[in-house]
Symmetry: D2
Amino acid sequence: MPNTAQNDDILGRARVRDNAELEAYYDDLAELDTGALWTVANSIEPWQPTPSSAPILWKNADLRSQVLRAIDLVRPEDAGRRVVYLRNPKRRDVSAACGWLFSGIQVMKPGERAGAHKHAASALRFIMEGKGAYTIVDGHKVELEGRDFVITPNGTWHEHGIAQDGEICMWQDGLDIPLTNALEANFYAVHPDDYQTVTLPLNDSPLTYGSPGLRPELDKWDKPYSPLLKFAWQPTYEALVKYSKVTDGSPYDGVIMRYVNPVTGDDPMLTMGANMQLLRPNEHTQAHRHTGNIIYQVAKGEGYSIINGQRFDWKEKDIFCVPTWMWHEHCNTQVGDDACLFSFNDLPTMRKLGFYAEQALVDNDGHQILSSN
Amino acid sequence: MPNTAQNDDILGRARVRDNAELEAYYDDLAELDTGALWTVANSIEPWQPTPSSAPILWKNADLRSQVLRAIDLVRPEDAGRRVVYLRNPKRRDVSAACGWLFSGIQVMKPGERAGAHKHAASALRFIMEGKGAYTIVDGHKVELEGRDFVITPNGTWHEHGIAQDGEICMWQDGLDIPLTNALEANFYAVHPDDYQTVTLPLNDSPLTYGSPGLRPELDKWDKPYSPLLKFAWQPTYEALVKYSKVTDGSPYDGVIMRYVNPVTGDDPMLTMGANMQLLRPNEHTQAHRHTGNIIYQVAKGEGYSIINGQRFDWKEKDIFCVPTWMWHEHCNTQVGDDACLFSFNDLPTMRKLGFYAEQALVDNDGHQILSSN
Amino acid sequence: MPNTAQNDDILGRARVRDNAELEAYYDDLAELDTGALWTVANSIEPWQPTPSSAPILWKNADLRSQVLRAIDLVRPEDAGRRVVYLRNPKRRDVSAACGWLFSGIQVMKPGERAGAHKHAASALRFIMEGKGAYTIVDGHKVELEGRDFVITPNGTWHEHGIAQDGEICMWQDGLDIPLTNALEANFYAVHPDDYQTVTLPLNDSPLTYGSPGLRPELDKWDKPYSPLLKFAWQPTYEALVKYSKVTDGSPYDGVIMRYVNPVTGDDPMLTMGANMQLLRPNEHTQAHRHTGNIIYQVAKGEGYSIINGQRFDWKEKDIFCVPTWMWHEHCNTQVGDDACLFSFNDLPTMRKLGFYAEQALVDNDGHQILSSN
Amino acid sequence: MPNTAQNDDILGRARVRDNAELEAYYDDLAELDTGALWTVANSIEPWQPTPSSAPILWKNADLRSQVLRAIDLVRPEDAGRRVVYLRNPKRRDVSAACGWLFSGIQVMKPGERAGAHKHAASALRFIMEGKGAYTIVDGHKVELEGRDFVITPNGTWHEHGIAQDGEICMWQDGLDIPLTNALEANFYAVHPDDYQTVTLPLNDSPLTYGSPGLRPELDKWDKPYSPLLKFAWQPTYEALVKYSKVTDGSPYDGVIMRYVNPVTGDDPMLTMGANMQLLRPNEHTQAHRHTGNIIYQVAKGEGYSIINGQRFDWKEKDIFCVPTWMWHEHCNTQVGDDACLFSFNDLPTMRKLGFYAEQALVDNDGHQILSSN
């Protein structure tokens, strides 16, 4: 139910003028742990969302060396996870990168292994570089390569590591920890044996559920998240290329596909979704805005995005965020190659609660005017 | 996944000891809008929820006269809604009564009519006193009496009023405004004509959907909320009495029923649920705790509840709240009559997002030890 | 996808003219347990359904005395169930009343008790007369009165009886036995103890699930049928009267409501549905037709129905059927009272399999021309 | 609810001995289009299903030449479809291959095109040989190769053809026409233009929906069948090989996967399902039986199946059926290669209606004794 802002001096808004009698009344109310709604009504019932997060671009060129520094500074055994987290300047109090989403860059070296834990928050990873990375989720071990996407759903035991003969690995961790904390629902547990014992065949999850249009005949999967834990880059990119041959794509996002739970068609986890989108050479999308927050990582190519009138130039491995209800449009500046953006978001939360709203920019052929600052 | 708190000096928790080199590193990270996760990890990944709200009891004996005072102090046309809201001392910043739930007491006098508006937040009302109250939701007008429960779901036009020949009416308003704001998804609109035009038959919603085990043969209802907008007190109380004849009830809540959407069996709105429970004469339930917040209004009788070791004595029309993860148990102190508690909660939000967790108190036969303060 | 019949001598239909060479070919095919599709194609792919059942009215005035005769002729212990079944003259081979639906009139006298059994077929009963009847379904005992509707879903142990101080009882049994047999899926078992032991409180099902807009808070019902086993006449009739105040009703069926599973809003059993409809004084509905079969029992009043041009006059307790794809319209001939028709059908089967189709009669203001025969 | 057969002379079964008085009664009942249930009860309520179909193997070696003969005998324009159908000797009256399933072998030569039609029955095809085949479903054209599986769901316009530069093509057609007819719900329509106009991109369905774990971000597919119309052989075989590395497989079916609607995880059509299974070299499964009918086509390799004690030896392109509730086990007789069986079935119908039942053979290590005949 998008709406344009209006003035507050109309019927239907609070427009009581305070006076001495009212002030006395407010004092009396305060003593009872109460207040007069009309003193706060307009601020708690805004005409439309005013995002508290800032749009930010984190450049890999800046981040990478700082993240690598951490290798010598702390051990996973002491840090829990060796992660540099992205801290939105307007969301420092909740350690969020955007809205209620957390994002961090984790780095591990060959032979390292971070202990198993679980929490009420859901997590996902997008591999940025390295070889030999693996994740174990409730006993299912999956091997990971660059640009693979992997989930560690809420309540599952999970741990990460790098094979002894691997290379230094880096990935983005996305979590809904700030949301879980805001809803005062976070639990945390360390695995009783520190690490999980893996008895299931290696990569059993993608080998069982990673084939199109097929599932085990007598599958009894009944958990609220995807049994397919890893969505590899190669088939994902191929999927976009194939789809691009038969679709015009979204006016706002180009050729965009959602990672889904193959046994339901829904988002792979309850609170967070993830997409991969392909922008054709020179494609410049139109702007729209919607409730919900998105954190992007450039998977391929270079270009820029305009977010609420501000231009952010990006290239591979850069990370940027689009806060709720901010206009955004994307541009692939390459003339000869497609660009791909991985992103994750809190849209499943917004949709489940009935809070999803969307609006297309109609003026100026759907393109924003760049802010002059 | 309830868990007992443990110490943080173990493998799996952050236990890095800061030093000069690290401090320098943190400064460098800060310049990039980043931080080291291990400096905040233990605080954003708590062992279990630490509720930010206080348990509070608001006595009708205190509130009623203050609410009535507002009649002469402000007009609905100026206040938007003439409401005294319940302000949890620990949630003043978000104007919440408990967790992310809003609660207020609204009062209107005969002939008054508050304008129609809509918002992304969902709302509900529980009638406390008076005659002639009505609510209009998307053109469906329903008449209301004491202890009726009525919903005004997210995105619906709604307005309230009192018939000219009615009496001063008071009711509790429950909303998820703080949640909607926290998720930065609130929209607000004033009806273009100030008030809705009612062309549908009076009370068509309960007359169509308020019968047990039946629905219109060719019903095409496809909205995400209940087409039954009003749940009247009389059949609700009868339902509890009937059910009490064939059930032992819940060990924690006595004979408790959930208000549901009759065409799905689910909660009547996406984010908030509501229950009515009956405590038999002298019934004293056992304690449990769960994620999610509850706001109670005493519908009938008197007794007390113990919340995290603190006793709150209540009688009819008193309101109290139980914050997330706090132990709570209820007692009907009447020897000859049942007691009824109406309550609303954010449990649908918790369940949809996978955040619901519950724990029974096992010590001391399931009863809390009263705090000595 | 309703369609009007067309001629078969067009492209898209089989119109091969047989000749000697083809005849020889057919003989060769027959030897291999095969055939040429074009020799049967037009008959197995009809333009539209040709119902195999006849519309029939069974008058209570005729049936009642014959059913009562059975009391002295056979005992329930020998008959299994003392039932006179309705045998559509065109469906004798499958013992069906209409389509794949079975219907029979069962009679029992005070103190009698029919043994417990279960089967893959689903069953329902509509009480016609008597006092003291009860049914026990998987240990849930429900007491029954005139015009109550009760279900005994597929796979449940069930048995019927009459209290010692009751009166002779008669009811219609509706089952999908012919369908279950056609699908070669029928199983049958006699209870190992002949009768069920009832430990649950009397009428626990309706006392728990028979209240509007409410269900037990922590209800874990997960069976594919309704936990509400009995839908009593009194609240059903009241529901129709209430609903009639706010609806124009269906042009084809008047004020019609569907019996539903209160925890899902769906039909109470997987294969069969049931409705109760109210025709206002002198109401004469328009005609429509649809796939699926319906068996009606007059619950109140008198009138007539026109089925494929043939008029059937009915009064209370008469039973009649409308076969698939036959035009039908109903008329309440009473000037001062409403008429009520109970009916059950196989529409859930049709809908689940994607076979439901419907067509309104547009000519002659929606009314059929009576056949002259 | 499987059950072993028992004798009928016990309480709970009909065991009325007829006499002259009863015979007279039966005559009177017959005049009213009624009958005494106990005279038919035991036959319409069998202890367990007695399949009416025979298990049959149709050898490709026999069928192929006969099917090819049809090319010169009839034209698609006259035959509608040039199909030799498989006629179960016990289901000739309903033109079924097994239970209520139809199967036929269709043949077309290059440049031929069969007109577009639609029907309430659902259809599927499994390609047996040839090049250049295509199917058009509601405007979506898909190209087909050997062992591809394609669906033409109920109510969709569909047509088949062979490219001008293709080769003679043969495929198995599977339909639920007998079921649709039994339920008296069949409709048929010829396309008003004889053929569909294709404006959508070639192969848009598999290019959009044929990628694992991904779907278009803003997909609004809401039809009750799969948007993925073609399930190609190559990825299907690869899926089985991958899955075989991490599973023991089903004791009854080896490594078996179900073709599913990728946006729901359910069967691709409402009434019929399909599987592809892989039997490892020398694998011999155990026997089980279940309600529902299966028609197999050998996709790869050779071996045999034992059906109710009778051995059927098969090799590639042979077709055989397993009627409801018949014991069946499979054996791959090749020592060095896997064997693959494609199959389609009516299990979605059985499951939706609550009629699915299953039983494992426990005697003789789960293996049947071969009949001596």
